[in-house]
């Protein structure tokens, strides 16, 4: 197991390296020039332009910029620009000159929001999806099954941002069934229970919309997986032993059907942690996705780099975790 983990981690690090190179390259091959953008189109003199460029650290050779960035992750960096000295303690994911703060600080600020959204939505997505899918599978061929499949298909065919926007405008703004969305810190100043309530209220609509839309693919997948599991020989044996129908369905069939779902869930969760852009924008939740979109519009390269790197780390880590988890669920799977 240990050898396997080490190999996977080493492989993961090389993936992260390539992701960083790719992002870096794409940014610099792009048509946008952040220095020019900051400089403005009217009063921009060549000297002013060069000064801005220097202050953004963009006058150095690209390769050097890249390796300074990498080094900073482990050791921290001291950045010098236009006479100013900025400290960027390790792990230094870069320094945003536009916001005048280290990227890691910005990430740390926005992370709780994204994590809150991801956790709540994934709970809904998994439970609703699996329940609907397995119920449909158990009652395969009946009207209920057909209705559930149709509903699931319809929901997944609608563009997410349209649904989210409609939900927000109709349910939160117009009809006011749901409170206005927004992030309230879980560990705020007031009593914990009050903070918890406000935290839930601000996120509830986002959780429901994101969770329900994402549950459709889980419903489809677990339905198919469950139908297959119900036809397995070991389920026939379970029935032949005289076990109750519930026990046969849940302990024997569902357990087998869920094994692959775990893999998908882990990867979906990793994706959610990287920032749900539409959700955060529409429901006004300032998480990593929100921050990343702003950074792209502002051409703030360090933030973009930091966000991409963070998301990649989460995905690589989750890939490893999911593979290990699968081997714990299915004793036939040997790692490495």
């Amino acid at each position: 197991m240990v050898g396997y983990l080490i190999r996977r981690i080493v492989a993961g690090i090389s993936v992260l390296f390539m992701v960083t190179v790719a992002t870096f390259t794409i940014f610099f091959l792009g048509p946008a020039d952040p220095a020019a953008a900051l400089c403005g189109s009217r009063n921009c003199s060549p000297e002013r332009y060069m000064a801005i460029k220097r202050s953004l650290g963009l006058d150095q050779p690209k390769v050097e910029q890249f390796f300074s960035f990498l080094g900073g992750i482990f050791a921290g960096r001291t950045l010098q620009s236009g006479g100013f000295v900025k400290e960027c303690p390790a792990p230094c994911f870069g320094y945003s000159f536009i916001q005048n703060r280290p990227v890691s600080v910005i990430l740390a600020e926005n992370l709780p929001v994204t994590v809150s959204i991801a956790l709540g939505a994934s709970v809904i997505m998994l439970t609703v999806g699996v329940l609907i899918g397995s119920y449909a599978a158990i009652n395969r061929g009946t009207t209920i099954d057909k209705a559930l499949v149709a509903m699931s298909l319809t929901l997944s065919s609608l563009p997410y941002y349209v649904l989210a926007l409609l939900a927000f405008l109709v349910l939160a703004v117009q009809l006011q069934i749901f409170p206005r969305t927004g992030y309230h810190p879980l560990l705020g100043d007031g009593p914990f229970f009050l903070d918890l309530l406000k935290w839930v209220q601000g996120l509830l609509l986002a959780w429901l919309v994101l969770g329900l839309v994402m549950s459709t693919s889980y419903a489809r997948f677990s339905r198919a997986s469950m139908i297959e599991a119900l036809g397995e020989d070991f389920v026939r044996t379970a029935r032949a032993k005289g076990l109750s129908p519930r026990r046969v369905q849940f302990r024997h069939a569902l357990r087998a059907a869920l094994a692959p779902v775990v893999t998908i869930f882990g990867l979906d969760l990793a994706g959610l942690m990287g920032g749900t852009i539409f959700t955060e924008r529409i429901f006004n939740l300032k998480g990593i996705g929100y921050m990343a979109v702003d950074a792209v519009f502002n051409l703030d390269l360090p933030i973009i780099m930091g966000t991409v790197l963070f998301a990649s780390i989460v995905i690589v880590a989750m890939n490893i975790i999911v593979d290990v988890a699968y081997s714990l669920i299915d004793p036939r799977v040997r790692l490495g």
Binding site: F234, R236, G242, S244, A256, P331, R332
Partner: protein, 345 residues
């Protein structure tokens, strides 16, 4: 068969149909047989003959939404086909138990063997997990698994094929069922292991006094184990009687085909194998009259078209009483002695 008391298991006119997109599959058609405690019935036939389907009907394992079952299956006087789900669940695994062909896929890969055996016990007894585990170890030991107390915590994939089948037998017998249905229990195993498993089953039968139905396509297994034999073809019984009788004086052309197509250890190595010509019939469009007629080499012996037009009745054979045959041939024994017997080693 004899005596005033009804036999332990009495199947009468059992018919099992599945509606499918292509038509209704009549997997079992008018099957009748009886079985006493302590005796073994061998059900023989090709794939698709309805052998497994009829036994699954006894266990109530068919999906009621997709299956139509008629006739009667009486165990100690009670007709199982009229019994509600909960009573049927209690019956399954305790009064009657079933073991299946492939023990690797028939055991759940995620749970230990001990877990699954104990589960069978706990489904029908109020006991603690500890007690159930002890019983499981006892049974594993009884079926001949070495170091049972250690192997009880192994997973099915960690057992060899023969040991897995023994574990399945342990799981089936843990509640002392009166009826054990073994559906091709040795087909997936090596020949030497086959013999061990069959010995084990006979041993356990002597000890527990259970009735056994053994489903197989292998006449060797039947010869070894069965008191009575029932030959099935296209969902119908075509020959039924005491094993010794059927194997020494069979009267149905299909049975002859089964006997002559089996290779013999002491036969002439140059001699070609004689399969039964043709293929098993569709169970949606079963041939008219006698279902075997498209493949029967003796149909021409009859002057008219009765084989094509009329389904033969199951009537007593030439040797008397309990041997029943479903065939129009008036003199099967003559044909048997002249043509078939010399070819059987």
């Amino acid at each position: 068969m004899s005596g005033t008391q009804e036999p332990f298991l009495c199947v009468e006119d059992l018919t099992v149909k599945f509606p499918t997109a292509d038509g209704v599959v009549t997997a079992v058609n008018g099957l009748s047989y009886q079985l006493e405690l302590g005796k073994t019935l061998g059900i023989v036939g090709e794939s698709g003959s309805g052998k497994s389907v009829s036994s699954m009907a006894i266990m109530g394992l068919h999906d009621p939404r997709r299956t139509t079952i008629s006739g009667s299956i009486r165990v100690q006087g009670t007709d199982l086909l009229g019994v509600d789900d909960e009573r049927m669940r209690k019956f399954r695994g305790s009064v009657a138990a079933m073991i299946f062909q492939d023990p690797l896929t028939s055991l759940h890969p995620f749970f230990t063997v001990g877990d699954q055996i104990a589960e069978a016990y706990l489904a029908h007894h109020k006991a603690s997990k500890r007690e159930a585990r002890e019983r499981a170890i006892e049974m594993l030991d009884r079926v001949g698994i070495p170091q049972a107390s250690r192997r009880v915590d192994d997973y099915p994939h960690q057992f060899s094929g023969g040991m897995r089948q023994r574990a399945m037998i342990a799981m089936a017998l843990i509640n002392n069922p009166q009826l054990l249905i073994a559906d091709e229990p040795t087909t997936a195993l090596d020949v030497t292991v086959q013999a061990q498993i069959l010995d084990l089953l006979q041993d356990l039968q002597r000890e527990y006094g259970s009735a056994i139905i053994i489903i197989t396509h292998d006449l060797g297994v039947v010869a070894e184990m069965a008191d009575d034999v029932l030959v099935m073809y296209a969902g119908r019984c075509v020959e039924y009687g005491p094993c010794k009788q059927i194997l020494t004086h069979p009267e149905h052309p299909y049975t002859w085909g089964l006997l002559t197509s089996a290779p013999h250890l002491t036969g002439d190595p140059e001699q070609r194998l004689t399969p039964i010509k043709g293929t098993p019939p569709s169970l949606i469009h079963v041939p008219s009259g006698c279902p075997f007629h498209p493949r029967c080499p003796y149909m021409s012996q009859l002057p008219d078209d009765r084989c094509v037009e009329t389904l033969p009745e199951l009537r007593p054979g030439g040797q008397g009483g309990s041997h029943l045959v479903r065939c129009h041939l008036p003199n099967p024994d003559e044909i048997f002695v002249a043509e078939i017997q010399p070819r059987i080693g």
